[in-house]
C-alpha cells in the first residue's frame, strides 16, 4: 500500500472548476508492485471477456472443443450479426432509449438531489425511503400488471413505453448517487454566491453543477449501462423488432432448435455492443477526474 501515490489536484485548479490540463504527478514513479496489481486487475477483467471473444470467433464443432485459441478463427458470427436487420434496429432502439433515459434521469435527479442535499425540506428521510423502495420492488411482481396497463394506454411496444419505466428505475440510483456527491461540495462556495445575490437555483446551476461533474459523469455511466442491460421490462413491454432493444434481440438470435443456444452469434453480438459503451467510457472518463477541485477550495 505504501507505494500508492495518490494523484493530487493542485491548488491552482481551484479557481477553474473544469480543469482540462492536469499534471500527472509521479507518472514514472510507480512501484513495480503496483504494476503487478495493474496486471492482475486487467487479467481479472479480461479473462472472461477473452473467453467471450474466443467463443465469438468459433463456429460449429469447434465451439465444443474448449480450445484456448480458436484453431480456425472465423468472423462469420460477426457477419451474421451485422447482416441481421433486426439487430441493427435493436441497436438503434437501445441507443435512443439509453441516451434519452440517461439524459432525462440526470436532469430530474440532479434537481431532486440538490433539494435533498442542500435545501430545507420536510420529511427527507421518508422521501429517501420511498425513492429506494421503487427500485427495491421485484420487477417480476410488477411486469405483468405493467403489461396490461401499457397496452390499455397505448404505450405497449413503443420506445416511449420503455423509456418511462426505465427512467423510473434509473432515478433512484441517480438521485442517491448525486445526493451523495452534492453533499460533498463545500457550502462556502454557495454562500459566497448568495452574497453576490444569487438565488438557490442559480447557485445550483452556476456553482454546484460545474463542481459535480465527476459525480454526474459517474452517474451517467452507471445509469446508461443499467438501462442498456435491463432485460425483463424490455421483453415484457415490447413485441416487435421495431421497438425491441439489444438484450432482447440477442436473446432472440436463432440457433437450430429451441434447445440450441447459438453461442457463437450471441457472443459476437455481445462483443459488438460493448463498443458503444467503451466509447461512452472513453468520453466520460476524462470528466470523472476533471471537476475534482471541490476539496481543494476548502483549504
Amino acid at each position: 500500500m505504501s507505494t500508492l501515490i495518490a494523484e493530487r489536484p493542485t491548488a491552482e485548479l481551484a479557481t477553474r472548476p473544469k480543469a482540462p490540463k492536469r499534471r500527472l504527478r509521479g507518472e514514472s514513479k510507480l512501484h513495480p508492485l503496483v504494476w503487478v496489481f495493474v496486471v492482475a486487475v486487467m487479467a481479472f477483467s479480461l479473462i472472461p471477456f477473452y473467453w467471450l471473444v474466443n467463443t465469438s470467433l468459433k463456429k460449429g464443432a469447434s465451439l465444443s472443443q474448449g480450445e484456448l485459441f480458436p484453431s480456425q478463427p472465423t468472423l462469420e458470427n460477426y457477419l451474421v450479426v451485422f447482416q441481421n436487420p433486426e439487430f441493427l434496429l435493436a441497436l438503434r432502439n437501445s441507443v435512443i432509449i439509453a441516451v434519452v433515459t440517461t439524459t432525462v434521469a440526470l436532469v430530474f435527479a440532479s434537481f431532486a438531489a440538490y433539494a435533498l442535499a442542500r435545501l430545507k425540506m420536510r420529511r427527507k428521510a421518508m422521501i429517501l425511503t420511498l425513492i429506494l423502495s421503487v427500485t427495491t420492488f421485484p420487477a417480476i411482481a410488477i411486469a405483468a400488471p405493467m403489461f396490461s396497463i401499457w397496452r390499455d394506454i397505448g404505450l405497449y411496444d413503443t420506445l416511449l413505453g420503455l423509456i418511462i419505466p426505465k427512467l423510473t428505475f434509473a432515478l433512484p440510483l441517480a438521485i442517491y448517487t448525486l445526493t451523495s456527491f452534492f453533499k460533498e461540495i463545500p457550502r462556502e462556495l454557495e454562500e459566497s454566491a448568495y452574497m453576490d445575490g444569487a438565488t438557490p437555483f442559480v447557485a445550483f446551476r452556476k456553482v454546484i453543477l460545474p463542481l459535480a461533474v465527476p459525480g454526474l459523469a459517474t452517474t451517467a455511466i452507471l445509469v446508461f449501462i443499467s438501462v442498456w442491460n435491463e432485460f425483463l421490462l424490455a421483453v415484457t413491454l415490447t413485441t416487435s423488432p421495431e421497438s425491441r432493444p439489444v438484450p432482447v434481440a440477442i436473446a432472440f438470435f436463432s440457433g437450430t432448435s429451441e434447445f440450441d443456444q447459438p453461442l457463437g452469434t450471441i457472443s459476437a453480438a455481445s462483443v459488438i455492443i460493448t463498443v458503444p459503451l467503451v466509447i461512452l467510457v472513453l468520453v466520460c472518463q476524462k470528466r470523472i477526474v476533471s471537476g475534482m477541485t471541490a476539496g481543494a477550495v476548502k483549504g
Partner: protein, 314 residues
C-alpha cells in the same frame, strides 16, 4: 481534520423565514418531477401486487379466488424453502458484496493513480459491467463446463486441483462460481462510485498528513478510508440491494440446485412457473421487505452522507 468540513452538518447561517419558505417551495418543485414519475409508474403495479398477495387464485378452476388475508405470508414464513433461500441469498450477498467493496476500493485507488495508459485501464476495468447479465452468466457457465471450459481446461493442464471438479454440480463450488461471476461483473460499479468519491478528497488533506509524518498506510487508513465512507456506503447500498435480489445468475447457472436458490428465484417459481399468484406475490413482497430493511439499516447505521440527509429535520 477535514472530516468535519467534508460532511457538512447544518451549519447554515440563520435566515429569514421568508427565505425558508421560498427554499422549501423550490425544494418541492425540484423533487416533484422525479417523485411524480416514480409514483405514476410504480404505485399502481406495486399496490396491485400487494392486493394479489392477500388472495389466493385457483390454478384448477378458472376465475376462482378467495381472500386469505396474511395466510400467504404465514405459509411462506413457515416453509423451509423460504428460510433456505433466505440463508443462501444472504450468504451470496455477504460474500459477493464484501469482495466487491474491497476489490472496488483497490481498483478505485489504482484508477486514481497517475500513469500512462490510465484511460485504457479505466475502460478495461469497466468492460465486465457492460456485458448483459445473461450473457455473462452463459460465459461463466461455459468457462466452468467440465472438459471444455476455459477454467477446467487450464486447471487440469497445469495439474492444479479443481480441473476435474464439476463446479456447477457441487455444493459450495456452485456458490463460488456464482459469487465470482457476480464479483467480476459488478466490481466496476463499486469501483466507479468509489473512484468518484476519491476525487473529492483534497490534496491538502494528504499534504497535511505527510507533514505530520504519517506513513502511506496510515494515511490510507486514517484519512482516505474515512473520507471515502460516503462513497463506499453508497456502493454498498446499491450492491446489497441487487445482490439480495439475485436471479439471473443462479437461474442460468444452476436453476437453484446445490444450495443456490435465491429468494427471487423462489418468488419467480411460484409466481411464473406455478402461477400461484397470491403465494408468489407474497414471496415477492417478503423479498422486497427484506431488502428494504437491510437498505434502511445501511442508510441509518453505516453512515455516509445519505444518513446525514435522512437525519436532517428542517
Amino acid at each position: 481534520m477535514a472530516t468535519k468540513t467534508l460532511q457538512p452538518g447544518r451549519a447554515a447561517p440563520a435566515k429569514t423565514s421568508g427565505r425558508d419558505r421560498a427554499e422549501r417551495r423550490l425544494a418541492f418543485r425540484m423533487t416533484a418531477p422525479s417523485l411524480v414519475i416514480m409514483a405514476l409508474v410504480a404505485a399502481v403495479p406495486i399496490g396491485y401486487a400487494i392486493w394479489l398477495s392477500l388472495n389466493q387464485y385457483s390454478v384448477r378452476t378458472a376465475g376462482l379466488s378467495r381472500f386469505v388475508g396474511l395466510e400467504n405470508y404465514i405459509n411462506a414464513l413457515a416453509s423451509q424453502e423460504w428460510w433456505a433461500a433466505f440463508g443462501q441469498t444472504f450468504l451470496f450477498a455477504g460474500l459477493s458484496v464484501s469482495l466487491e467493496l474491497v476489490l472496488g476500493t483497490a481498483m478505485a485507488l489504482l484508477l486514481n493513480l497517475a500513469f500512462k495508459g490510465r484511460a485504457v485501464l479505466r475502460t478495461v476495468v469497466l468492460l465486465p459491467y457492460a456485458i448483459i447479465t445473461v450473457v455473462s452468466a452463459i460465459t461463466w457457465q461455459t468457462m466452468f463446463q467440465p472438459n471444455m471450459g476455459l477454467v477446467t481446461n487450464v486447471l487440469s493442464t497445469l495439474g492444479l486441483p479443481g480441473g476435474d471438479v464439476v463446479w456447477l454440480g457441487e455444493h459450495g463450488y456452485a456458490m463460488a462460481v456464482i459469487v465470482m461471476a457476480d464479483v467480476w461483473k459488478t466490481t466496476p460499479f463499486a469501483a466507479l462510485i468509489i473512484l468518484a468519491g476519491l476525487q473529492v478528497i483534497s490534496a491538502e488533506t494528504y499534504e497535511a498528513a505527510e507533514l505530520d509524518g504519517a506513513s502511506k498506510w496510515q494515511t490510507f487508513v486514517n484519512i482516505t478510508l474515512p473520507l471515502l465512507r460516503p462513497a463506499i456506503v453508497l456502493a454498498a447500498i446499491f450492491r446489497t440491494m441487487d445482490a439480495l435480489r439475485v436471479f439471473d445468475l443462479p437461474f442460468v447457472l444452476t436453476r437453484g440446485a446445490n444450495g443456490t436458490e435465491s429468494m427471487s428465484m423462489l418468488a419467480y417459481t411460484q409466481l411464473r412457473e406455478n402461477r400461484l399468484v397470491g403465494e408468489g406475490s407474497a414471496l415477492s413482497i417478503l423479498t422486497f421487505l427484506t431488502v428494504m430493511v437491510v437498505s434502511v439499516i445501511y442508510v441509518r447505521f453505516a453512515g455516509g452522507n445519505i444518513r446525514d440527509v435522512a437525519k436532517e429535520e428542517q
